[in-house]
């Protein structure tokens, strides 16, 4: 049946489109039950921080897990690196090319809650060899 279906362009379009759409629920379900990470769902403060991360276009200069801009440092494990207070200080005072961010203390807390959550999901970039090519998700 499938071989017959592959004979025309339209049938090939339908098959690949259907397969692509079917991947979305597979990703949705499997990613939601990934055993690789330590954290569960984000709290409301972290979700609000994620919104703020998007509204302020932080991704232009910073990356999480290497995805994003390269002007500033990757922030996957920023909270581990500088601590929550250090992160708060940098947000309010700026660092390097980054100007001070016009955030209220509550907004800064939300952003740090989001970064803390991301921090708890894994380690990036790798800091030692032998390296973990598919990432590393248990904390030191």
């Amino acid at each position: 049946m499938e071989i017959v279906l592959l004979r025309t362009a339209l049938s090939r379009i339908v098959i690949l489109l259907f397969a692509n759409v079917m991947i979305i629920p597979v990703v949705f379900i499997s990613a939601g039950h990934s055993g690789a990470r330590q954290s569960g769902r984000m709290g409301s403060e972290a979700v609000a921080g994620q919104r703020l991360w998007q509204e302020r276009t932080c991704i232009s200069c910073h990356a999480l897990y290497g995805l994003g801009g390269h002007l500033g440092p990757d922030l996957t494990n920023a909270v581990t690196r500088v601590g929550e207070d250090g992160a708060r200080f940098i947000l309010h005072n700026g660092a390097g090319r980054m100007p001070p961010q016009p955030l209220t203390p509550e907004e800064a807390d939300r952003l740090i809650a989001y970064l803390s959550y991301v921090d708890s999901t894994g380690v990036y970039p790798t800091k030692s060899f032998p390296a973990y090519s598919f990432g590393r998700f248990e904390k030191d």
Binding site: T8, I13, L16, L17, Q54, V118, K127, F129, A131
Partner: protein, 441 residues
């Protein structure tokens, strides 16, 4: 502007899309140069325009130009529908998308997400325009399938994938997605991968359809299944290092390695590319560049998808170089080639200007690859044992050369864009001659 009498009204609207595409490329290049200058500035010197505005605006204008060009190419396919109204609505939707998107992002209002940088409500405009494009395509599908079944499935699937990815890009608004970082990230990158795969195959299909008079039969079932597997499962390689499910990474690795087959196919296509296929010297030069940068993109894509290499290159400027090579060297040049091939006054095209433009774009991309490649390698290697402050001064030093590549790119794309506009603006002053040489019959 009144449509030339020798063309059906819907097809004559294609030239407007080419003009919009050229404007998008020119604006994107200028914003890109400003962004490159901001990167090259020493630490502590704030850029005149905030980088958080420049980067998404640059990406948006490039994507908008490519999508406008795609619509121009698909509209140029003859004989599917003579009714101009869907094409006019399509043009209006695209123009509104670009204008509102550019203004909003200049004001700092965007999605804050990768690639889908515009305020996501504007996706409705883009979706509507592309849906009209596909409607026109599928109305004439049976006639087109007779002429070029391979072209039909590439354009049709590509367009539909873009539409699906626009819907997928909105899923983060659901609480079940927004509150789960891994789910959000994995869906986001599946959407991005589908979006660009859709653009790539639709552009390639439409340009190949328009530029060569060789009929394109459907590829064999085995090759189709392999291509389909690659298309569906490479998305996981964009973030091997994230906590996405392991089986997606393994599937992505297999699918990415299978792309070697596509590499060999393009090598064969490059070697057998002859002037006789394209008719014009400048079109041959453009298409040769497209094939060259396609080869470079596939080769680096396969290499970067090897997990041990990915560990070094991921999250560095090497990925930016790969993306620029694909978007400019392949997508933008396909739009240029297709737009010039379908020019309403083909005899008005200045081959010398086009050839110079192509050479400058190639030179710029080589400079960009060298510069970003070096900066990427420094970061990728040094970050293993060091911190941001160890490698970033060296990266900053290397990035001083980045605006040079940007300048060459502006010169090259500027020449090509100006030519694309010139030969399409002329269409309003003089009717297109009876030449239908690049149609497939």
């Amino acid at each position: 502007m009144r449509a030339p009498p020798s063309l059906p009204p819907a097809e004559s609207l294609a030239r407007h899309f080419f003009i919009v595409a050229a404007a998008g490329f020119a604006a994107s290049s200028l914003i890109g140069l400003l962004a490159a200058a901001a990167i090259a500035l020493p630490q502590g010197r704030p850029a005149p325009i905030d980088f958080s505005i420049l980067r998404p605006l640059h990406t948006f204008l490039a994507i908008a130009g490519i999508l406008a060009g795609l619509q121009g190419l698909v509209l140029s396919i003859p004989g599917t529908d003579r009714n101009p109204w869907p094409a006019r609505l399509q043009l209006g939707a695209m123009a509104a998308f670009i204008v509102f998107g550019a203004v909003a992002q200049t004001l700092g209002i965007g999605s804050g997400r990768e690639y889908f940088t515009w305020p996501l409500g504007l996706s409705v405009l883009l979706f509507s325009g592309l849906a009209l494009m596909l409607w026109r395509l599928f109305v004439g599908a049976s006639a087109m399938e007779r002429r070029s079944p391979e072209g039909l499935w590439l354009i049709g699937l590509g367009g539909l994938l873009i539409l699906v990815s626009l819907i997928e890009s909105e899923l983060w608004r659901l609480d079940a997605v927004a509150s789960d970082y891994v789910r959000n990230l994995t869906l986001q990158w599946h959407g991005i991968d589908s979006f660009f795969a859709g653009i790539n195959i639709a552009l390639y299909g439409s340009a190949a359809y328009l530029m060569s008079d060789r009929p394109k039969a459907l590829r064999g079932r085995g090759l189709f299944l392999i291509a389909g597997f690659g298309l569906l499962f490479t998305f996981g390689h964009h973030h091997y290092v994230s906590p996405q499910p392991h089986f997606l990474k393994s599937l992505a690795f297999i699918a990415s390695m299978i792309a070697v087959l596509s590499f060999w196919r393009h090598i064969a296509a490059y070697r057998t590319l002859h002037a006789a296929d394209l008719g014009e010297r400048h079109l041959l030069a453009l298409w040769r560049s497209v094939e060259f940068w396609t080869l470079a993109s596939i080769a680096t894509g396969v290499l970067f998808a090897v997990p041990q290499i990915n560990l070094i290159v991921h999250g560095t400027y090497l990925i930016v170089a790969h993306a620029m090579g694909s978007m400019i060297g392949v997508n933008v040049l396909i739009v240029m080639a297709g737009g010039l091939a379908r020019a309403h006054r083909p005899e008005a095209v200045s081959a010398a200007r086009v050839l110079l433009g192509v050479r400058l774009v190639n030179l710029a991309l080589i400079l960009i690859w060298i510069d970003l490649g070096a900066a990427g390698l420094v970061k990728g290697v040094m970050r293993v044992g060091g911190a941001y402050h160890d490698y970033q001064p060296i990266v900053d030093l290397l990035m001083v050369g980045f605006p040079l590549g940007g300048l060459a790119l502006i010169a090259g794309l500027g020449l090509l864009s100006a030519e694309l506009v010139r030969v399409n603006l002329k269409a309003s002053a003089a009717p297109r001659p009876a030449r239908q040489a690049v149609e497939m019959t």
